[in-house]
Amino acid sequence: MDILSNLVNGIGQALSPTTLLLLGAGVLMGMIVGVMPGLGPSAALAILLPVTFGMEPGGAIVMLAAVYYGAMYGGTITSVLINTPGESATVASTFDGYPLAKQGRAGPALVMAAVASFVAGTVGTLLLSLAAPVTAAVATSFGPPELFLVVVAGLLALIVIVGKNRLLGAISALIGFALATVGIDIGGGEQRYTFGSTELINGIDFIPVAIGLFGVGEVLWTLYNGGHLERLQYFDVRARGSRFWPTARDWLESRWAMVRGSFLGFFVGCAPGAGATVASVMSYSVEKSVSKKPERFGKGAMPGLVGPEAANNAATSGAMVPLLTLGIPGSASTAVLLGGFLMWGLQPGPLLMEENPDFAWGLIGSMYLGNVMLLVLNVFCIPVFASIARVPFHVLAPIIIVLCVLGTYTVNGSIVEVGIMLACGVLGFFMRKFGFIPAATVVALVLGPMAEETLRQTLIISGGSFTIFAQRPASVSLLCAVGLLLLLPLITRAVRRRTSTAPVRSAPDDRIEV
């Protein structure tokens, strides 16, 4: 129980009035930055990191942990309310979060997301404290072949997202993969499709594309359907009225999604380079596969929001495993934190925890307190955010467009990206009009480059042979996991058929397909 006492010490360390103040301020600042479309945790950390240079490391880390969670949740708020993810890890939250908001259930959706984040944060912190040494060993068994398989597991979600709409879905995904090839080719160092533009040498970032396809595209689509004429019933959430709280059914439906998402998120988050995005997308496909009513996914199924939210939050704790136990950053956000470590004079590496236990456990403790603070603050804040929903659409639409432009510009200060965002807005509109699937495009764009990079690395190492996947123990177990994920929908269907007493044919609502 040495470890748990460490954790308690870490939390205790963070429980002074000053640190509580820093926590509150951090969560709020993070949330404000995160609510800007396009600005997620890594951007919030990068923006606020210089603020902490003057502080002592203990206080600085508390504040940054709080900023991290605040920004993450801020991204969820925009995903749910205006269909605009703040970073790749909250893309999956738009799939069902936004439909829920459209049904007037923004309040319950945000509360469930906050609770899911809190539960996942708790599970993640406990796993981080108890299992860090073991999971660190797992992380060091990950080379390019293993990372490739993890990304493939994430890509399987495309099948679930596309559903029955196979042809248009495949084209949507291919658009994403095509966009992903722009930029310097990591294998040969040559430029692809940059047309000589230096702005494009790092490729097309998913942020302007996601903001355009989801945010602006949705605004255009709603206008096209006459949304501006309606005297909004649309997002009807009265401040903490009876419809603000989730219903008993919401809880029942999504409690296991929360647990599955937490564990899945933590372990996927441990793999450096894969992290929260893959975890949340995987969680979405797992939830849809095991669901009794998969047809409700994409139309406002609570587990479809709760699972990915739990997963991306737990992945945050997971990403701390390689950072703290190995000194290896697993994600963009942890890379910024690592920069912070250096600045505060700490040597990142396997000895970090041993040599600076107070610091490491203080970080873990404050991450947990950041979670608690987030839940508390949100009970007060959600009605305020959800009341955005009561603004008539003809007022809201221009504001969303302005926020989308501003958010895109703020990330890299690039006007080219604003152009990409607006072009994708138009593309998003036509994709909706003709039944394409923007979500598939974005998932392909996010995961495509990772898949390409890791596969090419794998093949350079193996001299072009695919047998390398069968030669490494870690990759063999991952291959099995990928196979299992593929079979999961079939298995659940078979199990359900056997357990249900009624013949399948007599369940008419199972066959209603839209």
Partner: protein, 328 residues
Amino acid sequence: MRKRISALLMVVAAAVSLTACDATNAGSGETAENYPRRELDWTIAFGPGGGNDIMARTMVDLLKKNKLYPEDIRVENREGGSGATGWGYLFSRRGNPYAISTTSGSFITTPLQADTGWTYKDFTPVGLLATDNALFTVSASSRITSWQQWVEHAKRKGTVAVGGIGTINVDYILHAILAKQAGYKIDYVPFNEEGPLQTSLLSGALDAVVSNPAEIAGQVQARKMTGLLYTGKKPLGSLPDIPTGESLGYKDLPSMPRGLILPPKAPEFAQKWWIETMKKVVVTPEWKSYVAKNDLTEDVRWGADFSAYLEHTVTELERILREQGALK
């Protein structure tokens, strides 16, 4: 409609002329006697928290603390395109004595892989302050403990898989030079990020990597990895037992410049002023401790000597990349 367009054009024209005024004004009336008398515009071509950012902010702190720069210093992260945006901005401040920026490896490599419109030759050099060198490491589980053992192992294996960051980058060149001179063959595996590179080595997928010592020294100290060779001229302060490339007989291993530059055609008095000022900065204990803490190698060269260093490094990089077929 036409009215609107012409109004728009007028606004654009006004904006253009305003910015043009700004650019010319900033440089006018400055003489060797009154320089510096305005706010300094300090460009960091990368985001907060990275190596370039830390170096720039350390310098700015020292300039302020020792009251070396009399006016305000405005620090801005102008990131994008692997430095192309930030240094492109500095490039556009032609002749302006109040714009300045710090360099790192991308200052050399980005123009090699993209049409940036500028190269190192365009800027007014202040000085090289330190260099980034690399540590050649293998996984501790390989049981290789010396460079000689590594070379034998590599020759026995035929071809070894080695990793580093990027393709048009010094990491690739170092691997290529070492392999050629020692007489073994490599498959070079490029990575985008440090994290996956390090776990790939630990997982046994790679035989060896070169990496930034500040980021990998922790692994060596914890005995998860073994450092075999350091490419700097002097041994690393934090890991003094690792032999340098030169002591093992490898000459001319390239390094990456940590320096300071002014815009193209910056006035000579400004260049002189900065050289004199930076001479005071590099002897402060704070600067020395920054260099040691970040495992940089002190290498100070002013003005034309800095240019000569850049030219030598770039020519070498280009020659070897062409030899390897990575550049055409």
